[in-house]
Amino acid sequence: MKKRKLIFLVPYLAWIALFVIMPIILITVYAFRDEHGFTLSNFSQFFTNGTFLRMTLNSFWYAFLITALTLLISYPTAYILSRMKNQQFWLLLIILPTWINLLLKAYAFIGIFGKGGLVNSFLGLFGIGPANILFTNAAFIFVAAYIELPFMILPIYNAICDVDPAVMQAASDLGANKWQAFKRVLWPLSKSGVQAGIEAVFIPSLSLFMLTRLIGGNRVITLGTAIEEYFMTTMNWSMGSTIGVVLIFLMIIVMISTSSSASRRKKREVKL
């Protein structure tokens, strides 16, 4: 029995060692190395050169905007969805587009946002001349939000469905108006879903380099774009790794802070 367990475990542990631990070690080693050996110059360059710091702020700002826009659209959608008939069917309709390859959807927006595309012909109806939409920051944020939308709707929908309808009923029976019921009852109870959604959207938003190339027209430079450039174009792997290590570090901070706020919330629930 013991031996059989080992056979089950070995391939899995090998995967962890080779594809989880090794890559992290290697990328860290590369970040601290140049042609001559160990060096801190990559990091000192990163933290003293304004370009890199601006880029870091920039990518967090864009990821924040994308996440906020997605959340703003998703929460009402998830709420209305949870009150509808045939929920499974509508949910399927929302999930279905995630199965179309991301690149195809991005490609579609090249046409839609183009000079003679759908949006410009629509604007033309109102006599607004063709505007430059493609290759703007707004276009990048919109397309990124479009792609992440289902990943935000789903966890929020699940969280809202878990809220006991009787609790909402009780809130309105006790005289809460719609806004109060939402703010005091529904939002706190569905917060776990919002958190899951934010985690599912924020982190991938940092690495949408194909969108910054195709839709953002190379003008939106994020950490993901920079890593891609250092690895694939300029072939400066140690600088690319340095940006990668910084990104991993920032991610860990974000994750620790969200999980600690979750545990704090639990404590408060116990007190109540």
Binding site: F19, Y30, W99, G111, L206, S207, M251, M255
Partner: protein, 264 residues
Amino acid sequence: MKRIKWSRLYIALVLIILYIPIFYLVYYSFSSGQNMDRFGHFTWVHYQELLADSRLLAIFLETILLALLSSLVATLIGTLGAIAVSQIKNKKIKQLLLTLNNVLMVSPDVIIGASFLIFFTALGIGLGFGSVLLSHIAFSIPIVVLMVLPRLNEFDYSLVDAARDLGASNWQVFSKIMLPGITPGILSGFFMALTYSLDDFAVTFFVTGNGFTTLSVEIYSRARQGINLEINALSTIMFILVMIIVIGYYFISSRSGKKGGRLL
């Protein structure tokens, strides 16, 4: 009453936005001409071009082969791993393994791609089909584990004891008792692995080298050169394929749900 109408309108708007890009692609795949600005006249010419484009068709088939192969291996390793992890008694070790399991789930794609690229180069593994396959297996394993584990936690181990008391061998216990109990988890794990593989662009882009491309990478490089209605024709076909798969999956899962109901 009025409020309900507004909410309907909102959902309709969200769905329209979700589907406009897809139908936009489909619509212009039937247009003569070379761009997505003005519909010329109806034509099948882009589909004929697509069928004659043996390079793109080969990439299409290779992408599907890659997805099937990688999810099969990932499902195997992931399922065995999940069974092993679920039987670990030491809480700390279990937690550690689960944390390591989730590292690739939360990492941004560029980090996975870049670190795998360093990894393959350090080991001297040439970039191509092999490296892409290994990467796809690697990033699909954690989702399989996450899909199978809940089933194992719900699993009633007294059944195993009962089978043993009745004289079942190890293999019989595994194949006749454990496996049927966790099959739904394994299937959804396989399914998720399949979609991960088909949908991946960033990781593949890093580790693919010159010899081998997947559909995503090929679309990216073509899209960077501008609009090509052959891609529209391809996306129409892919959309129809996805619809067929989803409807099939929906049908099977609702039928098996009914069967489960009858058993109860």
